[in-house]
């Protein structure tokens, strides 16, 4: 199948491109900066005509490109995540693409309360926390609304993707652990799902191949762990340890203050209310429906993933 992957440069993007190619698909990538891929088109998702040129001639599109940071101006999130998705959806329609796999986030349905073993609930832009989650919630609704007999749209919400080479979760934890700034928020015992990057890429490839249209699925390893354990294992891979704990209300209040003073600075602040909530409330999911619909099971267990991470940092 001819497949376009937008945002093919990141951790999940490059793993997805590799997995699709391994499965024999003909993959083109679309992103702002050169990735070194053999087949790539440079451009921005906010540029509708560039998107249309890239989409043309493909049977399926995996839409990964997004603004992922915690901080930043709302307009930037709207442009990248909402308008960008609209551009991709419109291009798919006009170019006769058969399948669109929209990469979303479990945060689109997380209003702050613990999520315990639930399935993918509807995206809720009204109540979710932070610019990122809100813009992604809007994007998912736009994408799923485009589902039709001509264009099957599946939304995949990979939960906390990590692996060797991860600049988001893993690098930050290890950096902070190494500089003695790694604190756990709350009791560290909230149970959360994570996804080893190869499993997420595998799930996206399965979604391209089966594409159960009109629905959203959370993808995770199906092995929830306490925040304390995940952070400790990642820190251990980087050869460090967790220093101590910050009670949740303190972290939440700090997040509030920092959000106000941080404003629209481009870099991520050390803590936001969103992050405080994310790391101190349970969020793990029912994977039965996902695995059935995508014909997918995670191949790399968390234990195996941590071993791979450990090896990556030793080298």
């Amino acid at each position: 199948m001819k497949v376009l992957v937008t945002g093919g440069r990141g951790l999940l993007g490059s793993a997805t491109v590799a997995e699709l190619r391994r499965r024999g698909h003909e993959v083109t990538t679309f992103q702002r900066n050169p990735s070194g891929n053999l087949q790539e088109i440079l451009g921005d998702v906010t540029d509708a005509s560039a998107v249309q040129r890239a989409v043309a001639g493909n049977e399926a599109v995996v839409h990964l490109a997004a603004r992922v940071s915690i901080a930043g101006a709302w307009e930037d999130f709207i442009a990248a995540n909402v308008d960008g998705t609209s551009n991709v959806v419109n291009a798919c329609r006009t170019e006769g693409v058969k399948r669109l796999v929209h990469v979303s986030s479990p945060s689109v349905a997380h209003a702050g309360e613990p999520l315990v073993g639930v399935g993918a609930q509807p995206a809720d832009p009204e109540n979710v926390r932070g610019h990122y989650a809100r813009s992604k919630a809007m994007a998912e609704i736009i994408a799923l609304n485009a589902n039709s007999p001509e264009l099957a749209v599946t939304a995949i919400r990979p939960h906390l993707v990590w692996g060797p080479g991860d600049t988001q979760l893993v690098e930050r934890i290890i950096d902070r652990a190494r500089s003695g700034r790694l604190f756990l928020i709350g009791n560290g015992q909230s149970l959360i799902d994570t996804t080893y990057v190869d499993n997420a890429a595998d799930a996206l490839a399965c979604a391209v191949e089966h594409c159960p249209g009109g629905r959203a699925f959370v993808v995770s390893n199906g092995e929830p762990r306490t925040v304390a354990e995940i952070v400790a294992r990642i820190a251990q891979a980087g050869g460090s340890k967790v220093r101590g704990r910050v009670p949740y209300p303190v972290a939440f209040a700090a997040g509030k203050v920092i959000e106000r003073v941080w404003g629209d600075r481009p870099s991520d602040p050390p803590i936001t209310t969103f992050l405080a909530e994310q790391l101190s409330t349970a969020h793990w999911f029912d994977q039965r429906e996902t695995q059935l619909a995508l014909h997918w099971v995670p191949k790399v267990s968390l234990d195996e993933g941590f071993r791979l991470l450990d090896r990556a940092y030793r080298n």
Binding site: V116, N187, Q189, S190, P224, A232, Y248, T281
Partner: protein
């Protein structure tokens, strides 16, 4: 005195009341007997050609809203009609008081207008009881069944009227309480437990928001006939006597915590309708349907049985003659000691400590005489066949003689464990409703005010003396009720369990056969229930010098002395007693004192392999075993230490092969942990353990729904335990059904995992619980340890668990049940784990 009487038409209820579907509401107009057109509000879930119609009648001061859950869950072929009585709910408001007689007539007119002409099951609450029973007597050709919830038809003469009602009736307080201020209304909804939400409470009040809407509430209270001269006394009496002739299936569902319609009224109804099935929901109060979450399901289960072959099957097995034919040769319970009295009159029957290391010895002749005299004396004191007698006497010769005396009379012995505590004992006695209570001095204050005659145990000698001049009573038959015992109460309130003579006789026969018991055996009874069984087995029993109600007070020295006193060959002890013996073995100077023991049994709760080994080390020549069973059937299987060692690790605790005559099946669990599978003998399937044997309990006492669920398959008992049968036909127990973890890959029983945690350093105990929604639960291991949960400990737990474990938590102690202090309360622990792992603290 009436308040202002303002007529008002019937209306439809507000559309937004929780649980009420507006499409059920109808207004129906029909003439009353005075020819005046009256408009009723009724809830009517109409169906085409209903199999049966449920006519639900509320009391005072509620309305048809009470029955909303019944309507919501009605099967497709049943019509449910719930009326609002005139002047009540959203029916028409009246200008004059309406008395019982006319209300019965009214109900007939509205059912005619609603064209209810097929079979009817009446469902009633409170004063809806007399009205709908009056209706039933007038429509006896139509009546198919009666279901009564906290109601009354008669004021028992031995007591005053309930205080709430009495207070409400005081003129002029009545109008004030019931009408001007909604006090009576509010008390009634408050009479329910905490399950009523504020929204539901407001819905109950919705028709009664203004004083002129509450006139009928006041009138109803006034219409309660407390004196024979009251205008409604005659008709109420007619109903109360009339229902004695109603031979239709009847179910009484009761909230015993009701300060208005207490157990006294239930007992009055049971006396009038002895064929009625009864379920008392412990903890539920006046609005029992709101308080007891399972009541509506139970009601429909009973409704379903009305027309199924199951009912007939049960009637056949409960037919005494059929049973006697089937049982044939089981001898009465007293045969064992009466025979010994003839063959060895002067040998020891019961040996008990008499202080300062001496023993009191009761010979077979003495025991037989004592039982006979007591039986005669008790009859003289008014105890007869079919009566229930609670015996709160310390295990020993007095208790044993009293039990057998009651059995000979045909009176049912009610045994309550002191460990239930004062509240638990009183609750148990209220449910068992003995007519007499024989109690030691310490227990007498506890058992006052229960409506039973209290006899001090000190009177027993005098009663026996009185017996000399009394004739011997006719002896009990195999089918007579013998005993009510109580479950441990580790999962909710203790449940009464009824055995008939034949079922106890079968227990005895099974034990004799399985353990090869002969006259040469002698029993050391450190486990209270078995102390009573010794004479039935026809072997001498000795009670060690200990507080039998506190097993941990046994010592190795006391055990040695007891064994010596009778040449003991068999020992039964609870795990706590065995633990105490092992822990005090240094105090036993001459270990050969235990050498006559050929069999040591640990019973009453799960016994660890390590504890059995401790006993084996102490009594090397004895066979050390532990039976598996429960209050409802014991024993089911048994297993020796040798077998346990040989079997090694498995899917739980090995309890061995079923005994001869005991059938064990497994009902497989579905993904939600429900035991829905058909009874199967297949190996290696996890499911609920289901047992059939001649010695299974007769039934639960006044717990119809519990009994019905436990005997879903007629003739079988669902144990509530889960386990597997292995390839060799041995049973392994994996825990309680309610503790099963429903993981995405299938149900998991906790015990096997917990056992594997036993090897971790500095971990005293472990519990496996599930967190998350049913069917998608994650396994969490909670350790009793002072260790910090670090990655090393987590890794060790995961490698031992042999299955995915989401989290490892540590506590300095695990919650255990109140009674045994040995069963980990996994339900409480699962709630704690779920809270902990939800985060935010």
């Amino acid at each position: 005195m009436r308040g202002p009487s303002v007529p008002a038409p019937a209306t439809l209820p507000p559309a937004d009341l929780p649980g009420l579907d507006p499409s059920w509401s109808r207004l129906v107009t029909c003439d009353d007997r005075d020819g005046i057109a009256r408009t009723w509000h009724v809830l009517d879930k109409e169906v085409q050609n209903p199999r049966v119609t449920v006519l639900a009648v509320h009391g005072n001061p509620t309305w048809s809203y009470l029955w909303r859950q019944v309507l919501a869950s009605a099967p497709a072929d049943v019509r449910v009609v719930a009326v609002d009585q005139l002047g009540m709910g959203f029916s028409e408001r009246l200008t004059t008081q309406r008395r019982l007689e006319q209300r019965i007539d009214d109900l007939g007119r509205v059912t005619a207008a609603l064209e209810i002409d097929g079979p009817v099951v009446v469902l009633a609450h409170d004063w809806g009881g007399p009205i709908s029973l009056g209706w039933a007597l007038a429509h006896d050709a139509q009546i198919r069944g009666l279901v009564l919830t906290n109601t009354a038809v008669h004021q028992p003469s031995d007591s005053g009227i309930p205080r709430v009602i009495a207070l409400a009736r005081v003129e002029p307080l009545r109008a004030f309480n019931t009408e001007r201020l909604p006090i009576f209304l509010r008390i009634t909804t408050a009479l329910s437990g905490s399950r009523i939400s504020p929204e539901v409470r407001r819905a109950f009040w919705a028709p009664y928001l203004k004083a002129d809407r509450r006139t009928a509430i006041s009138d109803f209270v006034e219409d309660i006939p407390v004196k024979p001269s009251h205008p409604s006394a005659a008709i109420l009496n007619e109903v109360a006597e009339g229902i004695r002739g109603l031979q239709v299936p009847t179910l009484m569902l009761w909230g015993p915590g009701d300060p208005v319609f207490s157990d006294r009224y239930l007992n009055d109804l049971r006396e009038r309708m002895p064929h009625a099935q009864v379920h008392r929901y412990e903890g539920a109060r006046h609005l029992v349907i709101e308080d007891a979450p399972s009541l509506v399901d139970d009601f429909w289960m009973w409704m379903g049985d009305l027309d199924t072959p199951r009912q007939q099957l049960e009637e056949v097995t409960e037919n005494p003659q059929a049973l006697q034919l089937e049982l044939g040769t089981s001898l009465p319970l007293w045969t064992g000691f009466e025979q010994r009295a003839r063959t060895h009159p002067n040998q020891d029957a019961i040996v008990e400590p008499a202080g300062s290391g001496r023993w009191r010895r009761v010979s077979w002749r003495q025991l037989t005489m004592k039982v006979d005299l007591l039986a005669r004396g008790l009859v003289g004191r008014g105890i007869h066949r079919g009566d229930r007698v609670a015996v709160l006497v310390t295990p020993g010769a007095d208790l044993i003689a009293t039990v057998y005396a009651c059995w000979q009379i045909g009176a049912t012995v009610v045994i309550v464990d002191a460990a239930l505590g004062v509240r638990g004992i009183r609750r148990a006695l209220r449910s068992a409703r003995p007519t007499s209570i024989i109690a030691i001095p310490k227990a007498i204050p506890i058992v006052q005010g229960l409506g039973a005659k209290v006899i001090a145990s000190g009177q027993l000698a005098r009663i026996a003396a009185e017996g000399k001049s009394k004739p011997s009573p006719e002896r009990a038959q195999a089918h007579d009720e013998a005993i009510v015992v109580f479950t441990s109460g580790s999962t909710g309130p203790a449940k009464g369990v009824v055995y008939r003579h034949e079922q106890i006789a079968r227990t005895r026969d099974l034990i004799v056969a399985h353990l090869d018991i002969t006259e040469r055996d002698a029993l050391v009874a450190a486990f209270a229930p078995w102390a009573v069984l010794g004479p039935a087995l026809g072997i001498a029993s000795v009670i060690p010098d200990m507080d039998v109600t506190r097993p941990a007070t046994l010592t190795a020295k006391a055990l040695g002395a007891a064994v010596q006193a009778v040449g003991g060959t068999l020992m039964w002890g609870s795990p706590a007693a065995l633990r105490a013996v092992v822990d005090t073995q240094d105090g036993l100077r001459d270990k050969s004192q235990l050498a006559t023991l050929r069999l040591v049994m640990g019973a009453g709760a799960p016994v660890s392999r390590e504890l059995l080994q401790g006993m084996k080390d102490l009594c090397p020549t004895a066979d050390v075993r532990t039976p598996y069973g429960m209050t409802e059937v014991l024993p089911v299987t048994d297993v020796s230490l040798t077998e346990i060692i040989a079997a090694g690790d498995g899917p739980g605790v090995l309890v061995g092969h079923p005994l001869a005559g005991v059938d064990v099946r497994i009902s497989a669990l579905d993904s939600l942990g429900q035991a829905t599978g058909a009874l199967s003998e297949s190996a290696c399937v996890l499911g609920e353990v289901v047992v059939r044997a001649a010695h299974v309990k007769d039934r639960y006492d006044a717990l119809w729904a519990t009994q019905r669920r436990s005997s879903r398959e007629v003739g079988w008992h669902r144990t509530g335990d889960v386990g597997e049968i292995d390839e060799q036909g041995r049973l392994w127990i994996g825990g309680r059904l309610s503790h099963v973890i429903t993981s995405p890959s299938g149900p998991i029983a906790p015990v096997a995992i917990e056992q594997r945690m036993g090897v971790i350093t500095d971990v005293l105990q472990a519990a496996a619980v599930g967190v998350g929604p049913l069917g998608n639960q994650q396994v969490v291991i909670v350790l009793e340890t002072n260790r910090v949960v670090d990655l090393d400990l987590i890794d060790e737990v995961r490698s031992l668990a042999q299955m995915p474990v989401a989290a490892v938590l540590a506590r300095t102690s695990l919650p255990v049940d109140i009674r045994h202090r040995s069963k980990v309360d996994r339900t409480a622990l699962a709630i704690w784990a779920a809270q902990t792992l939800a985060g935010r603290s």
